[in-house]
Amino acid sequence: MSKKWKATLLGIGLVMPSFLILLILVMYPVWSSIKTSFTGEDGQFTFEHYIYIFTEPLILTNIRHTLTVTILSCVFVLIIAYSIAIYLRFSQSTVAKWINKTYLIPMFIPGVIAVYGFINFYRDNGWVARIIGDEHMPTIIYNVKGLLMINIWFNIPFTTMLLISALQSIPNSIIEGAKDAGANQWRLFWHFILPLSYRTMLVALTFLFMGIVGSFTAPFLIDKNAPQMLGVSMQQHFSVFNEIEQSSSLAVFMFLLCSIVGYFYIYSNIKESKKEMK
């Protein structure tokens, strides 16, 4: 056997275990879900499950609800995290130093514990209600407001971390050069900080969207019974109503949603890489 063949076989041998794990644990369930979603009761190819999920008013409301919560959460998280990241990048104050030390804490609190803590804090007879009085307490838990708040709480640390790293990679000298050329704070942001950090913002947006659109714990514990987020709806179709085909169709739909967002991220990366390769 030639050396070239030996090297080829060694390469395949090294890659194979991880490839097989990917095939068994990821690819097969994905393929199985897609197949189930297109299979009718008679075992024949059909679109009936998709027709059902896109015509059934309750599921359509769930889709709308999921998209609204996801988009609003992404927008709020991006605005808040970007503002914090900019503050931490450019401020030398003691407050900034303290925020820098503490902003990652939520990442280390298990999701279920955080959600229960949140419920105890904000429910109608929770701690906040006891402090400000029941009559002044708005409904937060079992309401979309609560879901948005907990999504923001969960996602700000990681998003801020990503954005800070992007902002820190902008050298001070670039900012100084821009100031020297006459750029004020607004122009500095619009012409330099934003264009030089938007790629990371896109990465953050992709992660945020995928994480929120498929979230389960928080919507299951905090959101109202109807409409539901797709993650909860899918679980109910699967385990409560035993509608495996419908839940598979919902899963495929969710996968497509994430793929669209992923496409924009990959497209922008390819575009940037082409520019760098020039």
Binding site: P171, S173, I174, E176, G177, A178, K179, D180, A181, G182, A183, N184, R187, H191, F192, P195, L196, K275, E276, K278
Partner: protein, 357 residues
């Protein structure tokens, strides 16, 4: 001559206690002044204070007789060329150059014309559509210079602009810079730690050490008549011999150096390598053994063993056949300087008198 930039009693003290103190000098219109000194001496602090990137602790900075030290950098009539080029990576060369003009709301046609003109000046015509990553280091620094020139600053500040470039390109660019400076009558404040660079392009050199100014003079004076031991050590090469001055004389071995300063105490005699030559007369000769020969391109550095210590001299390439390793030659010392123990130079510089006993 009109004073363009005036720095008056400028001090900047950092929390660590380091910084610059009582910096006081001015730059005339159309003059290229260099701040020269070793790393950490405070030259960049002074330059960045002028540019508005550092708030001075005290003192005043005036450009065209107007105080500017309270203004933010974007409002100062100065422009800076940075060490790391600082081109904006997400913009093309054209956008990099046009940015400041767009802010000033200059008409499109005029922007186009000005950009083309400045690109011709820095020999980079046709590069408008390229991104900084597509340019070499030298080209990037030329664009950085062009960008600063487009701001039409009253004072152009340059922070070690050529330090990241190779020696040949550095040489080429400093010649171009000098040409542009005289063509446009620009007022420039230039920072470098490269003495050769400073000596070759400056009208005036401000030598800095440890946060204060050691000497302000033209390049010839700084080289020929350094006013302190630090300047003598920092600028060019110099041989140093320790001795003691008593009654206007310094006795070292069999040699007596005579000077006209009544100072009594420990001194250091400084002799430039080019001031040591092969003896041409029979008087005032010193015997020297050739210990080492180092070829440095068009000249050689020769290390000599003499009765007053080890000395280095420079010899032209053409004269090299007269110098054979380990042979003994007669030399004479043409000029020397005497420095007090504190580092100060004695009043009478470049004394030429010494006697053999």
């Amino acid at each position: 001559m009109t004073i363009k930039l005036s720095i008056e009693n400028l001090s900047k003290i950092y929390p660590t206690g380091e910084g610059v103190q009582n910096i006081d000098f001015h730059v005339n219109e159309g003059e290229l002044v260099t701040l020269l000194g070793p790393s950490g001496c405070g030259k960049t602090t002074v330059l960045r204070s002028v540019g508005g990137f550092i708030d001075p602790t005290s003192g005043a900075i005036k450009i065209s007789n107007k105080e500017v030290h309270h203004l933010p950098s974007e409002k100062r009539p100065s422009a800076m060329v940075f060490q790391s080029y600082n081109l904006w990576p997400h913009m093309t060369v054209f956008d990099n150059l046009a940015f400041s003009l767009k802010l000033k709301k200059v008409k499109k046609k005029e922007i186009q014309m000005k950009v083309e003109e400045v690109l011709t000046l820095v020999h980079l015509t046709g590069m408008e559509k390229k991104y900084p990553s597509e340019l070499s280091g030298g080209q990037q620094q030329r664009i950085a210079l062009a960008r600063a020139l487009l701001l039409e600053p009253e004072v152009l500040l340059l922070d070690e602009p050529f330090s990241a470039l190779d020696a040949k390109l550095r040489h080429e660019l400093r010649e171009e810079l000098r040409e542009i400076q005289s063509k446009r009558n620009l007022t420039m404040l230039f920072v470098t730690h490269d003495q050769e660079e400073a000596l070759s392009i400056s009208d005036k050199i401000v030598v800095m050490n440890n946060g204060h100014i050691e000497q302000i003079d033209n390049p010839q004076e700084v080289y020929n008549a350094p006013n302190s031991l630090f300047v003598a050590q920092f600028i060019g090469r110099m041989n140093f011999i320790k001795g003691k001055s008593v009654n206007n004389t310094i006795q070292i071995g069999d040699l007596t150096f005579i000077h006209n300063d009544a100072y009594t105490g420990d001194v250091t005699i400084g002799i430039r390598p080019e001031d040591i030559q092969l003896a041409t007369a029979n008087t005032r000769n010193i015997e020297a053994q050739i210990d080492k020969i180092m070829m440095l391109g068009h000249f050689a550095e020769i290390t000599l063993k003499t009765m007053i210590g080890s000395l280095k001299m420079f010899v032209d390439r053409q004269q090299m056949e007269q110098f054979v390793l380990k042979s003994t030659i007669p030399i004479q010392l043409n000029n020397f300087l005497v420095f007090k123990e504190t580092g100060e130079v004695l009043n009478n510089r470049r004394m030429e008198v010494y006697e053999n006993i």
